[in-house]
C-alpha cells in the first residue's frame, strides 16, 4: 500500500532521514521504532506531506506522492494522528471529531459522517459520554482517543500514528494499543511510530528500527524483540563493548 524508497529529508543543513526505505502492505500494522531524535516523526511528516522530501520516492497505492501537499495526501487516504495529540482544546469532543471529517463532508453529506461517528463511539464509548465536554478537559488517554477518532473520521486507507502512548499511564497505553489493533483487524492499514518498543511490538505485525535517520533493522516482531539493537533502542542506552 505504502512504499518508501530511499527517502532523504533535511531540516536546513541537518539531514534527518538518510536513505530510508520501508513498506506497509494492505491490512498490515507496522511499527517504526527508535530512540528520541532518530527521525521517526520526520518520516511521518514526510509521508503525510507536511515536511518535504529531498530525495527518493513515496509510492502510495501505486502513485508517487512525494512533493504533494498535505491536503492532497489526506484526500488520497493517508490520515495522521500527530504526536502530542494536537486536539482543539476549547472545542467539544463532538466538534473535534466532526472536524476530522471535513474532507468528506461536502461529498458524502451528514448521514455518512454520523455513521462514522457511531463507529467511533462504539470504539471509544467514553467519548460518547463526554461528547459535549470541552476536549481540553479530558484526561490524556481520552484526548488520545479523540485524536485517533478525529483522524479515523476521514476514513483513511493508511493510518499514521505518532507516539500514541506518549505521556500515558501503562494501563492506558495498553488500552489504546488494543484499540489500534482492533482498527487493524477491521481492515485499516497502520504505520505506528513508537518509542515504547515493547508495547508496540506486542500489537504490530512487523517493525523497522530507525537510528540517527537510518533504518538499521527490519523484521517480524518476534525477531525484533529478540534483537539486542532493539532492546538498546528501546532502553535508549548505548552499549558498545570490545569483545577480544
Amino acid at each position: 500500500m505504502l512504499r518508501v524508497e530511499s527517502v532523504s529529508s533535511f531540516y536546513g543543513a541537518i539531514q534527518a532521514l538518510r536513505n530510508v526505505s520501508l513498506h506497509v502492505s494492505p491490512g498490515e500494522m507496522v511499527a517504526l521504532l527508535g530512540a528520541n531524535g532518530a527521525g521517526k516523526t520526520t518520516l511521518m511528516k514526510v509521508i503525510s506531506g507536511i515536511h518535504p522530501v529531498s530525495k527518493g520516492r513515496l509510492v502510495f497505492v501505486g502513485q508517487n506522492i512525494a512533493g504533494l501537499p498535505a491536503e492532497r495526501v489526506l484526500r488520497m487516504g493517508i490520515g495522521q494522528v500527530p504526536e502530542g495529540r494536537q486536539i482543539f482544546a476549547p472545542l467539544s469532543v463532538l466538534d473535534n471529531l466532526i472536524l476530522g471529517a471535513y474532507v468528506r463532508f461536502k461529498g458524502e453529506g451528514k448521514k455518512e459522517v454520523s455513521k462514522d461517528l457511531d463507529f467511533i463511539f462504539e470504539l471509544f464509548p467514553v467519548l460518547q459520554e463526554r461528547q459535549k465536554q470541552r476536549a481540553g478537559t479530558l484526561s490524556g488517554g481520552e484526548q488520545q482517543m479523540v485524536a485517533i477518532g478525529r483522524t479515523m473520521m476521514s476514513r483513511p486507507k493508511l493510518l499514521l500514528l505518532d507516539e500514541p502512548s506518549l505521556g500515558l499511564a501503562p494501563l492506558v497505553v495498553s488500552g489504546i494499543l488494543q484499540t489500534i489493533r482492533l482498527l487493524r483487524d477491521r481492515g485499516t492499514t497502520i504505520l505506528l511510530v513508537e518509542q515504547n518498543a515493547k508495547a508496540a511490538l506486542k500489537v504490530a505485525d512487523r517493525g523497522y528500527v530507525l537510528e540517527t535517520g537510518r533504518i538499521i533493522l527490519e523484521g517480524e516482531t518476534e525477531d525484533l524483540l529478540n534483537n539486542k539493537e532493539v532492546q538498546r533502542a528501546y532502553l535508549g542506552k548505548e552499549y558498545r563493548e570490545v569483545w577480544e
Partner: protein, 432 residues
C-alpha cells in the same frame, strides 16, 4: 510443498522493495559495527547512503575468503560474542579456518530456510530424515537438522561414515528421506547392491543432496539406483550453510531465497556484474544475518540466474546447478581441496619434489583421488620400504591437513609429462 508461500511466491516488485530495505539496513549495520567494512567503504569513499536501488550494490567491494581468514577468528562479526549463540567454522584448508557466528534470530531464520529446502524436496512431517552430513563444525548437518525438525519430520542424526550401519538404520528405522552428498548416495547404492539389498524393500522416497556438485547424469544414476526422487540444494558455509537455494520438484534450477540473500553474477576476470542469464561467478550478500553479515562474498561457484517464473509457483530467482568453480579448487567428497595445499604438504616431505599430479576419478559413483608425486633420484633408487614410508607420510598429512585420503603413487624423477610446457596439476575425470 511450499513451506513459506507468502515469501517464496512473492510478486517480483515486492521482492525488490524488501531487498532494498534489508540491504540498506544491513549496510548501515556493517558500516557501524564491522571495522573491516568501514575501512573498505571509507577508502573507496562510498557508504550505505549510496544504495538507492539494489543495483547500486555493484559499486561496493567484493569480499573474499582471504578477508575472512585475515579477520580470524571474530574480526568480521557485527555483534559482540555474547549475542552469538552458535559458532561454525571451516576446516581451515589452506591456513586459518574461517569462523562464522549465528545469533538466536540467525538460527531461527536458518531453520526456516532449510525447512524451505526440505519442503521443496518433498519432505513433510511424516518423513523420517536420515542426515549423513558430519555433525560438528561444518554447517551442513545442523542446518538441515533444524529445518527438518521445524517441519516436524523425524530426524535421525546419523552423521558421516559407517556405511553398513547407515544401511542397517535405513532399513530398520524406515528412513524415507536421505540427506547426503550425491557421491555418498551412490556409495550407499553400491553397498546395497553388494549386500543384495533391494532398494525396493526400503522405505526411501527422496534424497536431498548438497555439499558438492551433482550433475544431471549423477542425479539420474542416483534416482535409478536408489529408486528415489533426488533434488539438489546449495549452501556456502561462510554465508549461511545450507539454505541458500534449492530445487523444487520441477528440477529446473535452484530457487534462491532472495528475501535473505542478494545474488549477483560477476565475470571472475573483470569482476564486472553480468546481466541476468549470463554465466559467471556467484556473489552473495546477506540481508538478514545479524552476527555475521556478508557483503558481496565471492563464492567461486560458477552458475547463472533465471528470473522467469517456475511452474511450481515460486517467484524467487533460479540459479543453475553449480557445476564448476571459478578457481582451481577441487571438491572431493564434499571437501574443498586446493592444489596449493597439496604442494605445501609435499614441500614438507623429504625426498620428494613438489612436482605432482592430482587425478580425480569417479569409481563406482564415489570420488577417488590419486596423487602422483615425483621423488628425487636418490630416493627413487632407495629401498622399497623407504618409498612406502614416504607415501604413507604424504597420505597421513593429507588426511590431517586436507581431510581426505588419496592413493599416493611415487613416480620417477621427470616422469610427469608437461603438456604445452606446463605440468597439469589437476586432472578431473569425473563425469560432468
Amino acid at each position: 510443498m511450499i513451506w513459506d508461500r507468502k515469501t517464496e511466491c512473492m510478486p517480483r516488485g515486492e521482492v525488490e522493495q524488501l531487498q532494498l530495505e534489508r540491504l540498506q539496513s544491513t549496510l548501515n549495520r556493517v558500516y557501524r559495527n564491522v571495522a573491516f567494512y568501514k575501512k573498505r567503504f571509507d577508502r573507496l569513499k562510498i557508504g550505505p547512503d549510496e544504495i538507492q536501488s539494489v543495483q547500486d550494490l555493484a559499486q561496493f567491494p567484493l569480499t573474499m575468503k582471504e578477508d575472512l581468514r585475515e579477520s580470524y577468528p571474530y574480526g568480521m562479526f557485527a555483534l559482540p560474542l555474547r549475542e552469538v549463540v552458535r559458532i561454525h567454522s571451516s576446516s581451515g584448508v589452506t591456513g586459518k579456518p574461517t569462523v562464522t557466528g549465528y545469533t538466536k534470530n540467525d538460527l531461527h531464520h536458518w531453520s526456516q530456510l532449510t525447512a524451505r529446502v526440505l519442503a521443496a524436496g518433498g519432505v513433510t512431517k511424516d518423513d523420517v530424515v536420515q542426515i549423513t552430513f558430519k555433525y560438528g563444525l561444518f554447517t551442513g548437518a545442523f542446518g538441515l537438522h533444524y529445518g527438518a525438525e521445524l517441519i516436524g519430520a523425524s530426524v535421525i542424526p546419523m552423521s558421516t561414515g559407517n556405511t553398513r550401519k547407515q544401511a542397517l538404520i535405513m532399513q530398520d528405522y524406515k528412513t524415507t528421506a536421505l540427506v547426503s552428498t550425491p557421491s555418498y548416495a551412490l556409495l550407499l547404492a553400491r553397498y546395497l547392491e553388494k549386500e543384495g539389498i533391494n532398494p525396493q524393500s526400503l522405505s526411501l522416497k527422496r534424497g536431498l543432496f548438497g555439499g558438492e556438485p551433482c550433475p544431471e547424469s549423477m542425479r539420474k544414476e542416483i534416482e535409478e539406483r536408489l529408486l528415489i526422487q533426488a533434488t539438489d540444494n546449495y549452501g556456502v558455509s561462510e554465508v549461511m550453510g545450507p539454505g541458500i537455494s534449492a530445487e523444487c520438484e520441477h528440477k529446473n534450477g535452484l530457487h534462491l531465497y532472495e528475501d535473505h540473500f542478494i545474488p549477483e553474477i560477476i565475470d571472475p576476470q573483470t569482476l564486472k556484474v553480468l546481466p541476468p542469464g549470463a554465466e559467471g561467478e556467484l556473489v552473495l550478500t546477506t540481508l538478514t544475518k545479524e552476527a555475521f553479515p556478508m557483503v558481496r562474498y565471492r563464492t567461486r561457484d560458477m552458475t547463472s540466474l533465471d528470473y522467469s517464473p517456475c511452474s511450481c509457483g515460486r517467484t524467487l530467482v533460479r540459479m543453475k546447478k553449480v557445476l564448476g568453480r571459478s578457481d582451481d579448487i577441487i571438491v572431493i567428497k564434499g571437501v574443498k581441496v586446493f592444489p596449493s595445499q597439496v604442494e605445501s604438504i609435499l614441500l614438507e616431505v623429504e625426498g620428494v619434489e613438489p612436482r605432482y599430479q592430482i587425478l580425480v576419478e569417479q569409481v563406482e559413483g564415489a570420488d577417488s583421488l590419486e596423487l602422483k608425486v615425483e621423488v628425487n633420484e636418490r630416493v627413487f633408487s632407495d629401498e622399497i620400504k623407504n618409498l612406502q614410508n614416504i607415501s604413507a607420510q604424504i597420505d597421513r598429512k593429507l588426511r590431517e591437513i586436507v581431510g581426505i585420503s588419496a592413493k599416493v603413487k611415487l613416480v620417477a624423477p621427470e616422469s610427469l609429462q608437461p603438456a604445452n610446457g606446463k605440468l597439469v596439476k589437476v586432472i578431473d575425470r569425473r563425469k560432468k
